[in-house]
Symmetry: none
Subunit: 123 residues, 2 copies
Amino acid sequence: MAAFPESPEVPGVLYAGELEIRPDEGLVLATGRALTLSVREFELLVAMARRVGAIITREELYRTVWGSELRLGDRSVDVYVSKLRSKLEVALPDRRFIHTHPGFGYRFQPELSRDVHIEHAGG
Amino acid sequence: MAAFPESPEVPGVLYAGELEIRPDEGLVLATGRALTLSVREFELLVAMARRVGAIITREELYRTVWGSELRLGDRSVDVYVSKLRSKLEVALPDRRFIHTHPGFGYRFQPELSRDVHIEHAGG
DNA sequence: CGTCGGCTTTCACGCTTTTTTCACCGGTAG
DNA sequence: CTACCGGTGAAAAAAGCGTGAAAGCCGACG
């Protein structure tokens, strides 16, 4: 009797690691608990989660989420990736979801954090 | 396996935390005591309680409770959420039921209030 | 008929949260 | 060192929301 499904059961719902994303409801669950995301954060997450494993450029993300062309020098995507990362890390500390590919873009894929080990006092 | 609420005993009756809602009777009990709600308040509560855990947009709530399309700038839903919250808080001070998701809508889910802790004397 | 009282609708103000924008910083490659 | 890239804190601007209160409705009552 699992508390939540490990693999897709409900159509339209996205699963990634212990994340459950319901695009239609604007809802994200982390291990069953609702995350509080803003509209931009949520749509950015959805845009990435729909393309797990692929590198997506900032231009494309901006087009998908903001609905217009990314202007030169606009760092909005970076800023929101940062916000999203920090909320995901609070919710699921031992997972990394958003990976940076310098010069290309971002890749969404649930992976174990590198430092799952216990931080020893003093380093 | 149907997903059942806490302790369903009577069919059609909704349970949420220490709330018992009887849609057919227009009755709401909080820890056994009857709440006095207006028609709008009651139907709004029912509409939300039927979708525990989901984020519901104002548009949908308005459609369900008022029976027509929400007009631009109409704040009726907000106003009634406010009224409902204040009555629920009087009845059950250490629970929060209606959660706001800015830009999305409202989510109904019984949760412990953040400050259940004892307020420091003199604070 | 006029008044009263409860419910609903509408309005407006101020506060909160989100979004946008800016700036600085560290890392890295040439 | 210089140039480029990306992370992120924070200020500024914009959008969203909570809520008291005024105004409108309507049935009950004298």
